[in-house]
């Protein structure tokens, strides 16, 4: 993903911002408070935007309007990547977005979204909710005046779209691929030329040859986006984002001012979206993948082992280096790595072995 947000948002945002400038402070009347939720997604973007809308609607409904959440799509209140600052400054009460967008503020934010060779959605839930991750996240976001919660996950992303299958490390050298963040850094160290591009520029860049390959999200979003019109090779597994978590970030001073019942209500609505979003992706990814293969001539193929193993080795090192030289960053990394080590053996004999056995039984492996 890395830029799922940017696609339509920045095209319209200049016009949209001026129209919403009047909504400066939360209105308080008769016990009803307007709560501004800035999102990093285009309105109703499948999975991400729909998820943000569900969070907003659920808080409004279950509080019976005591907290009436008004959702602003990317660019409507502030540009997508300013959402964090807007909440920190009190220009919005909450944001719904991917926390690795704020890695320029602190590299530690990567671990609360997804890192190469990192935790799956289920493993990340375990680490954050029951393995000490939330306390570290509270500390990190707290430095910026924000209280964070998990509020959705896209599941494992695909490895990306290519003109031809990657058959060796030679195919990676010189490859111009649109892949942001730590995934991009991993491929750069393997000789690729990673490019960071907003979604809205991807098609043009593919057409004029600025890039040869791109990653996006997964079948549900990629099919709707239309990447199959330009590239026909879809590779797996995705090494760079094995379970992209979405955050609900809340202005901490506002959060602290809420009664405990409202705090629990918001937390429960976020945790519920943690169930809903991955369910929505699951219900649509399989069918979209079938459509890509059956109707769009897309070839779905794995990275060869020697390519994967080298990507894995380098990617894991990139992650190890990311938080170096910062005490909190190192604590986050150590906690994350310890958790991955402690859960991997169980993941192997449970989900991994089960899904393999089922694929073998169905003949879909």
């Amino acid at each position: 993903m890395g830029g799922a947000v940017r696609r339509r948002s920045f095209l319209t945002h200049a016009a949209a911002v001026s129209g919403t400038a009047a909504l400066a402070t939360p209105a308080l009347s008769q016990g009803r408070q307007e709560v501004r939720l800035a999102t990093t997604w285009p309105r109703d973007f499948p999975g991400l935007g729909t998820g943000a809308q569900r969070v907003a609607d659920r808080i409004t409904l279950t509080s019976e309007g005591r907290l009436t959440v008004k959702l602003f799509a990317a660019g409507e209140l502030v540009p997508a990547f300013d959402s964090f600052d807007a909440v920190a400054n009190g220009d919005a009460e909450m944001y719904h977005g991917a926390d690795y967008y704020w890695q320029g503020k602190h590299k530690g934010f990567n671990f609360f979204t997804s890192v190469p060779l990192g935790l799956t959605a289920k493993e990340l839930n375990s680490w954050v909710l029951f393995g000490g991750g939330q306390q570290l996240w509270d500390q990190l976001s707290g430095e910026f005046g924000i209280k964070p919660f998990l509020a959705g996950n896209t599941g494992v992303q695909m490895g990306g779209w290519f003109r031809n299958p990657v058959t060796s490390l030679d195919d990676i050298r010189g490859l111009r691929m649109r892949i942001p963040g730590l995934g991009g850094e991993t491929l750069r160290q393997l000789g690729a030329e990673p490019v960071s591009l907003p979604g809205g520029e991807i098609f043009a860049a593919l057409q004029d040859g600025r890039i040869d390959a791109t990653e996006w999200v997964g079948p549900y979003n990629d099919l709707a986006f239309g990447l199959q019109k330009f590239l026909k090779t879809y590779m797996y597994p995705g090494f760079h984002e094995p379970g992209t978590a979405i955050a609900l970030g809340i202005n901490k001073a506002w959060w602290d001012s809420l009664p405990e019942a409202d705090q629990l209500l918001i937390q429960a609505c976020a945790e519920t979206e943690n169930d809903m979003m991955i369910a929505e992706y699951n219900a649509n990814n399989g069918a979209s993948m079938r459509e890509l293969a059956a109707e769009h001539d897309v070839t779905v193929t794995p990275f060869p082992r020697e390519v994967w193993d080298e990507i894995a080795r380098v990617g894991d090192q990139v992650v190890a280096d990311v938080a170096k030289g910062d005490l909190l960053g190192a604590r986050i990394y150590n906690s994350y790595q310890r958790f991955r080590r402690s859960v991997a053996g169980w993941s192997e004999i449970s989900d991994q072995a089960y899904l393999r056995a089922r694929a073998d039984a169905f003949g879909t492996g």
């Binding site: 094995p242 429960a268 809903m276 991955i278 779905v300 794995p302 894991d316 169980w346 899904l355 056995a357």
Partner: protein, 368 residues
């Protein structure tokens, strides 16, 4: 798992006071009864039921309170759905496969051999038409039920020796209930159904030779490892053990839309919490049971699983043939799981194999 009762179960339980949350005298505040299939003192699962109740109470600002009765305190564990359907209790927390004698299709909403893992189940129910089918089925019994968490993929059971072929199961009396028990019986295995409260005694008394329960953390608490060191995987028979929160249908329909949404939210939230909690504990327990108790984990061989898959299909076909509704549920369930299984093979499954293999985090690799 299936049968609920843990060894510490019921004797002491009846004497314990229920977790009453007395209703404050606000207008319209009321107290509902919640009956569960879990002994009060068993780990994790009863607390999950209580967390759902607490969430509803807090989100309704104390308008809906619960008096929680765990297994046997008000209703026997397998009878919770009957009690709620008849209005003798208001809500239950259980697994739907306990009710397959009432209608075999309840199994689709708890654990199907080679079926859906929890987040797939959530996808089918909420975005794939599954909830409407569940409403139709449970509605016949006066209940509306919601998915309310999962302990995650289960293990294949504890055995006195590694199981590589059907022949290895000869002479072994295996405690395994539900659809999985039917499949093993079809494979010629002597299966036994015992409540959890009797498992340890049955093992020491020689009444059973092998046992399936839930997963590492909850199994370790029972100490099976001391007698049966061979722990088989994967748990092909139960990929999720989905928990359900059932509500008397007339009561559910009488709630305001806000209250119904709060019930759905409290159940859905548990899908995020319960599996995550047990996943952490299972990870630690797998390590400690190997290091400290000498447990050996073994993978069922491919041929063995292929055999059991064939028998599972026959068993599930019998369930589907029960009536038209069972047939429709079966068709919807398997259309969904076939589609998502293809995607899992290139996403979550492929990723875990490749990650764990390349970084030597676990024992096998997708490329082996």
């Amino acid at each position: 798992m299936k049968d609920n009762l843990s060894r510490r179960s019921m004797l002491g339980a009846a004497a314990m006071a229920p977790l009453a949350t007395p209703a404050l005298a606000q207008g319209g505040a009321r107290t509902l009864s919640l009956v569960t299939s879990w002994p009060r003192d068993s780990l994790i699962i009863p607390q999950s039921a209580e967390r759902i109740a607490a969430t509803i109470t807090q989100l309704t600002n104390g308008q809906i309170n619960f008096e929680v009765f765990h297994s046997g305190e008000k209703v026997a564990p397998f009878e919770v759905q009957d009690a709620v359907g008849a209005g003798a209790a208001d809500c239950y927390h259980s697994v739907e496969q306990y009710f397959i004698k009432k209608h075999p299709a309840f199994v689709y909403f708890s654990a199907v051999p080679f079926g859906m893992v929890p987040h797939e189940m959530s996808g089918w129910l909420k975005f794939g038409g599954g909830q409407a089918l569940w409403d139709e089925l449970a509605g016949q019994f006066g209940v509306t039920a919601l998915m309310a968490g999962s302990p995650g993929a289960q293990m294949g059971g504890w055995f006195p020796k590694p199981i590589n072929t059907r022949a290895d199961l000869e002479g072994i009396r295996f405690r395994i209930p539900g659809a999985a028990g039917q499949v093993y019986a079809a494979a010629g295995v002597e299966t036994v159904n015992l409540p959890g409260s009797q498992l340890v005694d049955a093992l020491f008394g020689g009444e059973i030779d092998a046992v399936e329960w839930i997963g590492p953390y909850l199994d370790l608490d029972y100490g099976f490892v001391k007698l049966l060191p061979h722990y088989m995987y994967p748990g092909w028979h139960d990929p999720g053990g989905i928990r359900s929160f059932g509500v008397n249908k007339a009561l559910f329909d009488s709630l305001t839309e806000t209250e119904r949404e709060i019930f759905r939210l409290a159940a859905s939230r548990e899908n995020s919490l319960l599996e995550a909690e047990l996943n952490k504990l299972n990870g630690e327990s797998v390590v400690s049971m190997k290091r400290e108790y000498g447990a050996e984990t073994h993978k069922f061989p491919k041929d063995f699983l292929a055999d059991l898959y064939r028998l599972s299909q026959e068993t599930m076909a019998q369930t589907a043939a029960h009536d038209a509704l069972a047939g429709r549920i079966h068709e919807s369930y398997f259309a969904y799981v076939q589609t998502v299984a293809e995607y899992a093979a290139v996403s979550s499954s492929a990723y875990l194999e490749a990650r764990n293999g390349a970084l030597n985090l676990a024992e096998v690799s997708v490329y082996d």
